[in-house]
Subunit: 339 residues, 2 copies
Amino acid sequence: MRHRLKDVAERAGVSVKTVSNVVNGYLHVRPDTRARVQEAIAELNYRPNLSARNLRRGRTGVIALAVPELDLPYFAELARHVVTAAAERGWTVLIDQTGGSHEQERMVVAGIRDHMIDGLILSPLALTGEDLAGGADGTPMVLLGERVDHGPADHVVIDNVAAARAATAHLVGLGRRRIAAIGAQRTAEGASARLRLAGYRAALEAAGIAVDDRLVAPAAAWHRADGAAAMRTLLTTGVRPDAVFCFNDTLALGALRTLHESGLRVPEDVAVAGFDDIEDGRFAIPTLSTITPDKERIARLAVDLLAARLDGDRDAPAQALTAPHRLTPRESTLGRPDR
Amino acid sequence: MRHRLKDVAERAGVSVKTVSNVVNGYLHVRPDTRARVQEAIAELNYRPNLSARNLRRGRTGVIALAVPELDLPYFAELARHVVTAAAERGWTVLIDQTGGSHEQERMVVAGIRDHMIDGLILSPLALTGEDLAGGADGTPMVLLGERVDHGPADHVVIDNVAAARAATAHLVGLGRRRIAAIGAQRTAEGASARLRLAGYRAALEAAGIAVDDRLVAPAAAWHRADGAAAMRTLLTTGVRPDAVFCFNDTLALGALRTLHESGLRVPEDVAVAGFDDIEDGRFAIPTLSTITPDKERIARLAVDLLAARLDGDRDAPAQALTAPHRLTPRESTLGRPDR
C-alpha cells in the first residue's frame, strides 16, 4: 500500500502542511516536530510523489536559477537562499551557469529549457532589454541584481548607486582623499559595475573631491586575481591611493593580498572597502568593511515574484522590488579595535 | 520554419557535434568557432529542443547533484566542475542541498525526484551502507568523496588517509612536534573526518610522536566559525600547539583568524595546513598550505561513471575510482619567501 501525505500527518500528529514542509526541506520546522515527522515517514515508508502533483497542475515543480558563476561566493550564497526559499514552496531549483556570456544568457532567456521548468530566476551580466523583449516564451522570469532597462521582466534589485555612495562616503569620512575604485567595466548602462562607479563618483563629488581617472581601475572579472592585479596597477600610477573601494568583496580580498605583499598596512596606509558581505570577508585578515545586501530577502522576493506570476496574472505589468542594504564597517577601514 | 541543428552546422560551416557543444555550454570550443556558431544560431533563430531529444531516449537530460551546502566553497567549486562536465554531455544539473542531514540524504537516495532525473551524484555526509541498500529505485547513482562501506553504488574518492598523512608529515618535516588537528567528528567509519584523523595519527606515529588527545579538536561543522572556535579552545589547553592540521580549508581560515587575534605569528609560532585547496586559501594572509584534490577530475569521473551506467549495464558491479591529490605548501607553513 502506498501511503499519502495525510497518513504521515495523522501518524505524526501534525498538519499536512507541516509534513509537506519537512518533505520539501523547509528549514524552519521545529526540531522535535521534524523528528516526529521523519519517524512517521520512516515507519510508513512514505515516498512523496512531487512529479504527479505537479503534473496535475501542469507544472514540473522545477524552477531554474541562472547565475554567472557558482564559485563566486556571492552567487553561491545567493543560490543557497534561493534553494531554501524555493523549497518552502516545494520547488526544486535547477542551477545553470551562464559564465556571464551574452549568448548563454540569451539562450537561457530564449527558453533553452522549454517544458522543463515552470519559471526562471536569472542574474544577468550581459543581457540587454532587447534580448528580453525577444525571449521568454511565456515562461515567467525574474531578474536579479542588475537593472536591465526597458525589459518586460519582474526584477529584484538593491540600490547599487546609494550603496556604492555609502561605501565611498565612509572612506571620505575617515579623512581619506585619494580614494581609488576597482572593478570598472564597459558594461550596459544599468549593470552593477556602472551603477557602483556612479555611486563612487557621486560620493566624491558631494565631498568636493575631484575624480581622478588614474584612480579608477578596470577589472575584466570580479575575482580575487583581478583585484590583486588591479591593486598592483594602482600602486604604480604615481598617485598612491590612501583608500580603495572595490566593487565586490572578492576583488577586495585580492587587493588586500597585494597590499600585504607590498608591505602596506591596512587601513593605516590604505583603507579597503568591498561590496557583498560574503563570509570570507568576515574572517579575512583584516576583516573586510563592506556593503551588506540582504541576500535572503533578495532570494525570497524573487521566489515570491515568480510564484505570483505562476499563480496569478501573467500579463500584469512587470514589478521592480528593491531589497535593503547596509554599510558594515570592519577592520579594513576602522582598524583593529582596542581590547 | 523551425530550424534544426544540421541547419546551424551548415550555415556555420562546422560539424553538428560542434554546434551541439556550443549549445550545451561546453567550454572548450575555440572562441572564433563559438562566435561563428552563435552567429548562425542568431540568424536562424534556432532553438535547441533538448526535451524532445531526451524524451525519445526515455530520458529527461537532467541529473541531480546533491551536496551538503552550496556555500561551502569546496562544494561550490565541485558543483561548477560537475556542471561543466555534465554540459559536455548535454546534461543539465539540478542541484540539491541536503544540509548534510541524514534524513534529507536518505530522501534523495530513496528517489524523491522520481521520474525527473536520469541519475544522481551525491556527496553524502551522514549516509550509511544500509541507506544505500534500501534506496535508489534503479536510478543510477554515484557517490562523491566519502567512502560508504558495503554500499552498492559507484564511487569517486580521493585517498583521504594518505592525503592527511602527507599534510601532517609536512608539518613534522618542518620540525614541529606539538601538532594539533581540527575537525574531528563522531561520524561513520568511512567519512572524511574519520579518515583524515586516521592519516594524522598515522603520520605522527610514523615520526615517533605520541598522539596527544588534548591536541585533537572536534568541529561540529567545517566552517570558518568552527575553525576559529576550535583554535581558541586549543590555545587554552595548556599544551600550546606549534602546528595545526585542519581537516578542510575553511576551518584553517578560521584558525588563521584566531591566531591573528591572539597575536601569534603564522608559521613562526604556529604553522597551519588545510585541505581542499579552495580559491580563498590562495589569497589568504598568509597563503594557505593545503592538500589539492583534483576536483575537475573528481567531477569528470563521476559524470563518466553515471554515463557508463546510463548507457551500459545497470547491473554491473559497482566501481570505486580514486582521483589524485597533491600537497601544496604555501606561506602558512613555509613562511614568506625572500624576494
